[in-house]
Amino acid sequence: MVESLFARIALRVASVLTLAFIYLPLLVIALYAFNDGRTQAWPIDGLTLKWFGKALDNPGARDALFTSLKAGLGATALALLLGSLAAFAVQRYRFFGRETVSFLVILPIALPGIVTGMALNATFRTVFEPFGVGLGLFTVIVGHATFCIVVVYNNVVARLRRLSRSIEEASMDLGADTWQTFRNVTLPAIRTALLAGGLLAFALSFDEIIVTNFTAGDQQTLPLWIFTNLSRPNQLPIVNVVAVLVVLLSAIPVYIAQRLTQEPTSVAAPAAAAAGAKQ
């Protein structure tokens, strides 16, 4: 459909308005990060950079940030592993209960966070604690991975659906065993799906509060730190600064991932690359 000029303009305007809607509160947050006063009144009292200094000095914020990064990386790795395994199983084999797997995988993220949180909390306390593994970073990672599996799973399933098996069979006909084929043929083909899924999984884990509340023990991830400090009237400006800095910093990985996932991802690419290398 060649959209009419009117439609194109209307869509452009709508997009701009939607983006404005999305970014307006973020601008307000940024404004309060520079606010001179302690309380979030409107209009703001004046501009200052002092909160940035205090935030960078704040050991609680720094520790919470590192904990969140560690938890996010761990959860993403675990989700990548488990999600890919499940995706391969569902996409490549036919078995009883195949449809149920998709359903099961989406449950942790579809059910209310408080239910998932309470359930995981009960599991960790009854099963892990007798073995000496208390609530802490490990349980946070496992908890986050539980609902992050679905984003990796969906991306990989969608990609596998588009991949033809013939290229893998060709690889094995040429003498590669299963592991070599996986490493050299399959993995490159699903790499961008893994990247997209992993990025979204990391974002989900990084900002999660409700399930983390139930599984963190005395560890403080960044959202938990923010939650604690929102109820301290004088810490509010620092919280705003932290939020702004995190958004700005997140532009880097998001942009890189965006560029990387724009490569051609059809079946032909690995074949063309292989053919090119042989000359």
């Binding site: 869509l11 452009r12 509160p25 979030q40 409107w42 488990l82 499940a86 539980t146 990084f206 900002d207």
Partner: protein, 300 residues
């Protein structure tokens, strides 16, 4: 390279290769190994603990000792059914979740369509980054910002004052507004992916057959994009259904999540909390089953 040199040397036998050959002959073992880890955790640990949690819904809290008594009964469910307020809270929660879903679907469609079919490659990339970045700013900070914006002397009232209007203040409208804001990116992404998947050839064919743009949109694009919208709605609906933080910050009204959280914490009445938690769970499972029917799972 002469062809016969390629075929001459057989592959070396190693442990990895032997294992690969063994697995090749046992496809079901392959399947078992693939599924063991993810299904093991999800079924045994997650579903198992969910089951125990909902088993607790049939127990009750002993008022004298304030401990949970393990005799089965429907007391909690009877209280839920008979008391007006719980029905009201459940309906309020579901109602706002539905409103948020509808709002986000409408808001997301134009920008998703623009990104998928109109924008140039570079603009599309930039827009994707622009939509993904806010996901990283803390949920809590965003809700608190809205709270500040909606309060008496906040931005919203200040902006609407010159035209003589007043902002919604705190309440149901505020909750709907904030939820719609929070979950919008989760709706834009699947709809964008769904719209991108529609082959242009279909749309061109429709035009060739004489349909105007509006008809093509209504009869070709919308039905094909619908599963993606449903996929996005899974997130908007479920995230609203279970949230207890936002209602507390921008309204005085209780949602299902608040009642569950308060009963887990306040009265330490886990059986009652579990009983009330069955409401959103049942609603969500029904929603998921319908969504699967509509093809949403392939569009996530």
């Amino acid at each position: 390279m002469p062809p016969d040199e390629l075929a001459a040397t057989p592959p070396r036998s190693s442990a990895g290769r032997r294992l690969a050959t063994f697995l090749y002959g046992h496809p079901r073992l392959q399947l078992g190994l693939l599924l063991a880890a993810p299904m093991g955790w999800l079924v045994l640990a997650y579903l198992g603990s969910l089951a125990v949690l909902f088993l607790a819904a049939f127990w009750r809290l002993d008022p004298f000792t304030a401990t949970v008594v393990h005799d089965l009964g429907f007391d909690n469910f009877r209280t839920l059914w008979n008391t007006d307020v719980y029905r009201r809270i459940a309906l309020r929660t579901i109602g706002i979740a539905a409103a948020v879903t509808l709002t986000d679907a409408i808001l997301a469609f134009p920008i998703a369509y623009y990104m998928a079919r109109v924008a140039s490659r570079r603009v599309r990339g930039l827009l994707l980054v622009a939509i993904l970045m806010p996901l990283w700013s803390s949920y809590l900070v965003k809700v608190y910002a809205w709270r500040t914006m909606l309060q008496e002397g906040g931005v919203v009232n200040w902006a609407l004052d010159p035209i003589g209007l007043k902002g919604p203040g705190f309440g149901n409208v505020a909750t709907w507004l904030v939820f719609s804001y929070l979950w919008l990116p989760f709706m834009i992404l699947p709809v964008y992916a769904g719209l991108e998947r529609i082959p242009s050839s279909l749309i061109e064919a429709s035009g060739d057959l004489g349909a105007k743009a509006g008809r093509t949109f209504r009869e070709i694009v919308l039905p094909l994009a619908f599963p993606a919208v449903v996929a996005g709605s899974i997130f908007t609906f479920s995230l609203t259904l279970g949230d207890y933080i936002t209602p507390q910050l921008v309204s005085n009204n209780q949602f299902v999540g608040n009642v569950v959280y308060d009963n887990v914490g306040v009265a330490n009445n886990l059986p009652f909390a579990a009983a009330f938690a069955t409401v959103p769970v049942v609603v969500m499972i029904a929603y998921l089953l319908i969504a699967r029917r509509l093809g949403a799972f392939e569009s996530l």
